[in-house]
């Protein structure tokens, strides 16, 4: 489990996180949702240590990550896989080399074992016949899938995904969501997904944290989020006309 306690982070005068308390559960897809500019990505980067927090602490299975020195953090980081919004694949390496990279850096595997692991990871995300292409030569959806393959190469305990569906069509989005969900169950990872896509939330979320005004404003399951009366959550979830109609139908008793 990952736990954030009283996380505060500001950039100059702009206080983005004003005391975030959050719990992210093992073997679950934990979604952090909220409007744009509410600090979701800052929270994610604070959790993984890309941003130093001003106050508060982050615990990985009760290990205080914020209090660790650089060497100790590196050990925890090897248990983390991360999918960046842009994919962040190494653009001068091929698809295969991208997945091979963490194995070369951190394992004692033989070249044959490494190749087997690369093939397994790429097969797992349904990438075939593209091993020798560069990231610029594959589609956005494939980019995300290769990034997932790279993230799972070292069997991570924690998987972080920053807006995995951004820039993807609805069908590919569902594919990526399903893949993240399946990998979470298969590898029993603590998965944290940042999103503002309600389709994703309803598709794969096991546990949802709604960030508003720099704090976790609301928490619950995907069933809870459809039933809550919390004003800010309702405004976020039922932003579209379709969802508004769905809500009024539910309130009349026609649905759910």
């Amino acid at each position: 489990m990952i736990e954030g306690k009283g996380i505060k982070k500001s950039f100059g005068d702009n206080q983005v996180l004003v005391g975030v308390d959050v719990k992210l559960y093992k073997g679950k897809v934990n979604m952090i949702i909220g409007k744009s500019g509410t600090g979701k990505s800052v929270l994610l980067k604070a959790l993984v240590g890309l941003h130093d927090v001003d106050e508060g602490e982050v615990l990985y299975n009760e290990r205080n990550y914020t209090a660790m020195n650089y060497k100790e953090k590196k050990v925890v980081r090897r248990e983390i896989g991360m999918l960046f919004q842009s994919g962040a694949l190494f653009d001068s390496m091929t698809v295969e080399q991208n997945v091979l990279y963490p194995l070369e850096m951190f394992t004692e595997m033989t070249p044959v074992e490494m190749q087997e692991r690369v093939d397994f990871c790429l097969n797992r995300v349904n990438i075939k016949d593209s091993n020798h292409l560069f990231p610029s030569e594959i589609s956005g959806g494939m980019n995300k899938r290769v990034a997932i393959a790279r993230a799972i190469a070292l069997n991570p305990k924690y998987l972080f995904c920053d807006e995995p569906n951004s820039g993807l069509d609805p069908q590919t989005s569902i594919l990526i969501d399903t893949l993240i969900k399946d990998i979470t169950e298969e590898f029993d990872t603590t998965t944290v997904v940042i999103s503002h896509d309600m389709n994703s939330v309803l598709e794969v979320a096991d546990f949802i944290s709604f960030v508003h005004n720099g704090v976790v404003w609301w928490e619950g399951t995907k069933d809870d989020i459809l039933k809550t009366d919390n004003k800010e959550v309702v405004n976020f979830v039922y932003a579209s006309e379709f969802m508004k109609n769905l809500r009024s139908a539910r309130l009349k008793g026609d649905f759910f």
Binding site: L50, K74, M105, F106
Partner: protein
């Protein structure tokens, strides 16, 4: 005030760069890659530049040394010493700052703004050590070779100009380039090239590593890398000359 912030940032980046590599096998492979990019890729520009500069120095010297008090072999001495003392180590390094420095800042800057460096950081890799150290090592190993090559080709360029223009006789030129030869000048040139290699690669890496924004900022970082590297080269040129060539210093 900003200067001290940058100096502090530069120092901190160097501290992260000069640590034990994660995997020596990967590190040596990266050094070889950088030797090819930084070193072999620069041979042609250094060669062309040096031949022409050697020829120009010879022609200018021949046209200006018109006094009967100047010995006939002085043009050879001028071509040789200009190449060894200043042109090959300093001017070639400034040209390399443009070629290598901008490429380093551009590469690292792009990796920074596209979150590739964050991706490395999250994996537990030390990005400065993985990205910058092989470049520094490769440049410090290869720049002396480039400088020696430049000296040789520059003096050869002078010889070519002698043959083609007839401004100086071949005998006087050959005598001139051998006259009062001080081998310490080569040591001085090599030391300068090693220091300049360090400055170019680290300053350019620092500029790239601190890029924020997008394509425009990556371009700006490349420009700054070249400008600051050239300023640092000139500053250290003065310091090294005072330290190594001034008697009693």
């Amino acid at each position: 005030m900003q200067l001290f912030t940058h100096l502090g940032g530069y120092y901190l980046l160097l501290l992260r760069t000069f640590t034990k590599p994660e995997r020596y096998k990967v590190f040596f492979r990266r050094v070889v890659e950088e030797l090819e990019l930084i070193g072999l890729g620069s041979i042609s520009i250094v060669s062309i530049l040096s031949i022409f500069m050697g020829a120009v120095i010879l022609i200018q010297a021949a046209n200006n040394f018109s006094s009967p008090w100047v010995p006939a072999y002085a043009e050879g001495v001028a071509a040789r010493d200009s190449m060894i003392l200043e042109f090959s180590p300093t001017i070639v390094s400034m040209v390399l700052a443009g070629k290598v420095g901008s490429s380093i800042a551009g590469q690292i800057g792009t990796m920074k703004v596209t979150e590739q460096i964050n991706a490395m950081e999250i994996m537990g890799v030390n990005p400065p050590n993985y990205l910058i150290l092989p470049k520094v090592v490769a440049a410090m190993l290869f720049f002396p070779f480039l400088v020696i090559l430049s000296i040789f080709l520059g003096v050869s360029g002078g010889y070519l100009a002698t043959v083609l223009t007839g401004l100086v006789t071949v005998e006087n030129y050959i005598y001139g380039i051998q006259f009062d030869y001080n081998s310490f000048y080569i040591t001085y040139a090599v030391v300068k090239s090693i220091v300049f290699a360090f400055l170019i690669t680290t300053i350019s890496s620092y500029q790239g590593y601190n890029t924020r924004g997008g394509a425009k900022e990556v371009g700006a970082s490349s420009t700054k890398a070249v400008v600051y590297s050239c300023i640092a080269i000139l500053l250290f040129d003065v310091i090294l000359t005072q330290l190594m060539l001034t008697p009693g210093s």
